[in-house]
Symmetry: D3
């Protein structure tokens, strides 16, 4: 049985939704401090700031945690990265930690940042290591939010998380460098991951979570096809897997059932119909485990 | 690739919901002015007042539009009516443009409206043409909303959209005539509709939208039936299509899967059970394309 | 055709949700007083206080009603209990009517309640009968809510509904006895229940409601299994029912479709996969009628 | 020091607002059960259902309470009526307990109610006494709300609280009699009221509460008036009290300051201006104690 | 007694707030159509679209109305402008009807708008007259909202109401001309205004409304000043009116009371204190009629 | 002219309310980053995290700032404390930084904290200095919120801000020590404060802010007193200042006007009335500068 730390705040809603769809719904008591998941593999659950989770997982306070890759790097926590989940603070897709200055600054590259510049960031460690590596001494000021609004009046340089750069640009900043990409990660304590029983449990959890994310991108389609049209219809289906075909009772018709990517299904259905398929049905799926 | 104008306001929520269920979900950027649909057939999308859409489609600013039939008539726009969608401002079903007067007026028919009456309406063109046709000269006042509240103090006659007439009656009005029925319509630019490629794309979109509306009225049922009961069960099923039957592995049981109208399924299930069917399942469907 | 009384207030949301999922959705007009259900078996529907429903059902104002068992007992209404539904005011599961006193009272049992004690309750009849039976004369004060806050300042004893006892404990009370368990019940008028036609309709409604409650605890899973793995996979499946198996077209693969309890499916899926099953799908179910 | 019971529910907001404006603001702890008022005259405070307050005050659980006159009568509690406050469940002004039947009933007077009629009410005691007095035997059913919706299907007669009768009329009922008027009352325990010290405290609280209600109906106006216009201006002012007049330093102008009813101030100001007053100011007042 | 039309929509909240503060609060019944003001000068009140109010006032349906100057001009209604109120759709201060084009258009002046341009506006009459006057023929399209989003795709020129121009700029537009300024106006029917009794009532209403607007910009300050400091303090006070000065009873101190602009009071108070004033109080005012 | 940093977050609402009442209302543009105050003494204004404000004021980025005393100490910023404002994160009154452990820990005093304990806090600097001073080496973990929920599972000791200790106790913690009291403070840059012109401006701002806080605790009362009762009434009034007394014109009555503490006014009014005062009015005050 494993213990689990889930992120509060900007990743919270998406993470809880993912667990809910995986039938690992988090039950929260009134005061929020002892949530539970009804699953024999999962013991204690806590919802904590993502900033603190990598440290707790590395210390062994939790076997498994979900946080941002940015906080894993900032804390320098020594953990195993078990999976990457395709969502982030910004929604779907990845985010980046970038370096930005005011758009009127006559520089386009980090190498031209003036020594002694005032730099504000919510990632002081990542930022310190970065400027040490590139050999430019700067003055670091920890930021507690809205960093982008502090340039140029209070600060010269901002190191901040962004998805599209829109907030930065709207505040008159330009991006002149990137330190790293970040996404949501499932992380494990090293010792827990070495324990075969716990590792199996972690991998089953991962399988379920990824099974939900996969299912969100697929649909089930079923259809009836007259014998003479079978070959043509089969040929149209995505090649991933042989479809499920059964001959219908008493007539020259086949039932076909197959999973296709959601992205293409609106293209596929009109073509299948033109090729002779009838009674095409589309059914939502909660999980796919291949 | 076609361009598309969707209606803002009273038809907006239902239209966006329909597109979402058709996997043609509208992605809206923050300022709302450049929404997108991820589908290779659909290019530029705008959400505009339904009053303006017929004119824009007729001018060629958009290939396809969704609006009310009332506004197609009011603007007199020369467009192709591609489909009628079974919802309207009032919810499901059609709405009507009616003529109403105060319930204390001693008239029951439009032919008895006094010449020179004060008439208020959000449809000045439809109303002008109508009174010209019936040959009664009236004074027209454009209304910007809540027309029903202006009779009898400010106005004598109201020409207004209504579903059930409740709002009119509650304001002490009675309906004495009807100008037209209205519903939600999919309209196309004439030139675009003549282009074979665009026409195919429009028809695929129509197929998908109608596929959702159809699926809302159906459910999938599956059941297991012992051999001796098969004939009786099959006979109970709606006659539209032969059901999907497969013989179960190793026993004298058949699996039947079929689509039936939602409206009747609560009647059907107890009867099927009584006839010997077991493990009857009801499954929601997102789209049906026959 | 039967008439139906549904409960307002704490049981309302769950009851309406249950009917909605059973495709017996309640359509409410603006003023709430004439809701309708589109089903040929159901005529007049009213949403009324659960306290009043047993009396109305016993009087014959309604054929069928949904209320709490507590109010059936409090009113002493002579009705038939048609079904128990697995939810209550407190959420899922049953609730209890308990007897509580302040935690500083030196008594642990109802037999030690002092004669003449001030007792407050929303159930004066149940409470009167109870204290008569155990032979302790007390002074009864009807409560209109928040009874737990009245001890010890205003009252000595509280008789109240509770699920877990948390609210009582948080107010410094301790439970020293229990009068009865309560849950949501479907009740019928005796004469209506004796009428064969009405009885059949009531039982069909019951079948549908219980069918939804059952389906909430199950999921449909389908999978493809290579011939050599079949026996192992089949052996893993819950023993309730033979699964639906069909041989796939042209290859040594079988399609299996079966319903399993939701509670176990997260355990089952990884094991099925390890045993060779592929393309495992999980599909939500709206109703199961066996 | 006196103890105080304030009403929960429909009178709560207005009562707490009144106490706040009287600088007797109720401070509520999180769980609501031990609110406090920072005033040396007021000890324990509870917020309870108005139905229960008269009984508690009569029993001596509280020295002073605020409830509706309806509940004082319903419970038959033996208490002293200390003051009437000019607001009620319905807003400002009084409410009435009336007798209503369906508008299609061919009766216009309570004397014509048929013996054996089904009567529903939230005031069973008041109603029982009333029908005994007028000598018509009826069947009483306690109502838990929305009584007006039960006629004519479930009940024949309703006895209910109403302000304007609108809700009754909208439900198709007509009022055929009135049992009593009701308003918000300040009530005292008889023994407490006989204690001179407690009585003084109760009267001071009453003075402050009525001082706020009075201030809501008045405004302070000040103006400067040239000597020759003084007589004319003074003559226009309401006669209740001599206004405060002071001669301005060094010029032949007088400053007049007086309290006038808010209801008339909009009529008065233009007349004062016409009579020669200048710099007329209207200033809000928090309390008036005459 | 006069009849009154108040504006619905963007001017509604500010207008109702102004009337409330003037003790002319609008009481609205549930259905909104027959609001009342408890004042002997005001009879029928309606809340109507500001677009329609000038026409109704000109026709004599109402004696007095409140609308925007823009709609007075658009409708060409022949009414008397009784007062201008210092708020508008945009908040405080005036708004303008401007002419805007896309910022990439190579023109900076209305004289360079190309003949035949597509122009959209919610003010077709004002716009038509304007382009006739400047002699440029254009195609006019009535807009039902969000005009700024239609350039450059659907339209070439927008004529729209704006306060600061921010919305236009954010949509990539630039302002190249201005047709008129607009504000909230009190307008009267010509015949009503010629009737001496109605005119007096209208002017009294105006006095009260302007009295509230004036009071929002002023505060009352009082202070005590020792005899020797009097001259210096008096010299600092705004010169508009002689302050109200009274000698305190029994000591060489004077009480000074005066109304000063809120805008300057924060500058004045420290200077008064430095000049010897003590116990300076700032007191809110509800109305000022000079 | 001075620049000003105001706190975002838990102190924001109360601080902006205070400035609004001081007629120094903050006007915020849509994006929030350039708020303005219309006052000639105040230039640039920013709303920033209170954690960052002391550093910015010390650096000279702002002349004046409002933050918590806790953050002044945590950052060690070298600033001038200009005033203390009587509100804090917790509402009115002060808050404390305390040391807490789980209630089951067998220790009651900080001296008994075990070396090596895990300590979590949002104040790592204050906490580090404190434990150095008392000579107990501990392991510090920065907390990003909800520190109280981490004991005893994740942490042994919490250093946290609290007003009443309720949140700590509800989480099973007990307070065993206190590091400091905190409140809201007005802080100034040392150099700015040494500049006579800026210092005058800062002191005027302070005067206005404290004038509002003072006015919240006082009311103005006026009354008329007959000559013979004057001495008795005057003797009852608080001794702080001579009241403003003027003799009424033409009768033996005096008008008395004085400021009294709100806290005592409800005691005072009944006594004044008993002593002969009439027409006692209580009037709200916006600012008091003595």
């Amino acid at each position: 049985m494993i213990t689990l730390a889930l992120p509060k705040g900007s990743l919270e809603e998406q993470t809880l939704q993912l667990f809910r769809e995986a039938d690992l719904g988090v039950k929260r008591t009134e005061r929020d401090y002892n949530p539970r998941i009804d699953d024999p593999r999962i013991g204690k659950v806590k919802i904590l700031r993502p900033q603190e989770i990598p440290t707790y997982v590395a210390m062994g306070s939790f076997d498994l945690g979900i946080s941002g890759l940015d906080w894993v790097r900032e804390t320098g926590a020594d953990v195993v990265e078990v999976a990457r989940l395709s969502y982030s603070k910004g929604g779907e897709g990845n985010v980046r930690i970038v370096i930005a200055v005011h758009r009127d600054e006559p520089i386009d590259d980090v190498s031209r940042i003036r020594p002694g510049s005032r730099v504000t960031t919510e990632y002081p460690e990542i930022t310190r290591r970065y400027f040490e590596e590139i050999g430019i001494p700067v003055r670091l000021f920890p930021s507690y939010g809205a960093s982008e609004a502090k340039v140029p009046d209070l600060m010269d340089v901002v190191v901040d998380l962004t998805e599209t750069g829109t907030t930065l640009r709207r505040n008159g900043l330009k991006i002149i460098g990137e330190i790293m990409e970040s996404c949501t990660v499932v992380i494990a304590n090293r010792a827990s991951y070495a324990d075969p029983e716990k590792r199996r449990e972690m991998e089953e959890i991962r399988t379920l979570l990824l099974g939900v994310l996969e299912a969100r991108r697929q649909v089930l389609i079923t259809m009836n096809v007259p014998g003479p049209s079978m070959e043509g219809v089969i040929a149209m289906l995505p090649a991933m897997k042989t479809p499920t075909v059964s001959r219908l009772h008493g007539i020259d018709f086949y039932s076909i059932e197959t999973v296709v990517p959601k992205a293409g299904v609106n293209q596929l259905i009109p073509r299948l119909k033109a090729a002779g398929a009838e009674d095409i049905l589309e059914i939502p799926i909660s999980k796919i485990i291949r």
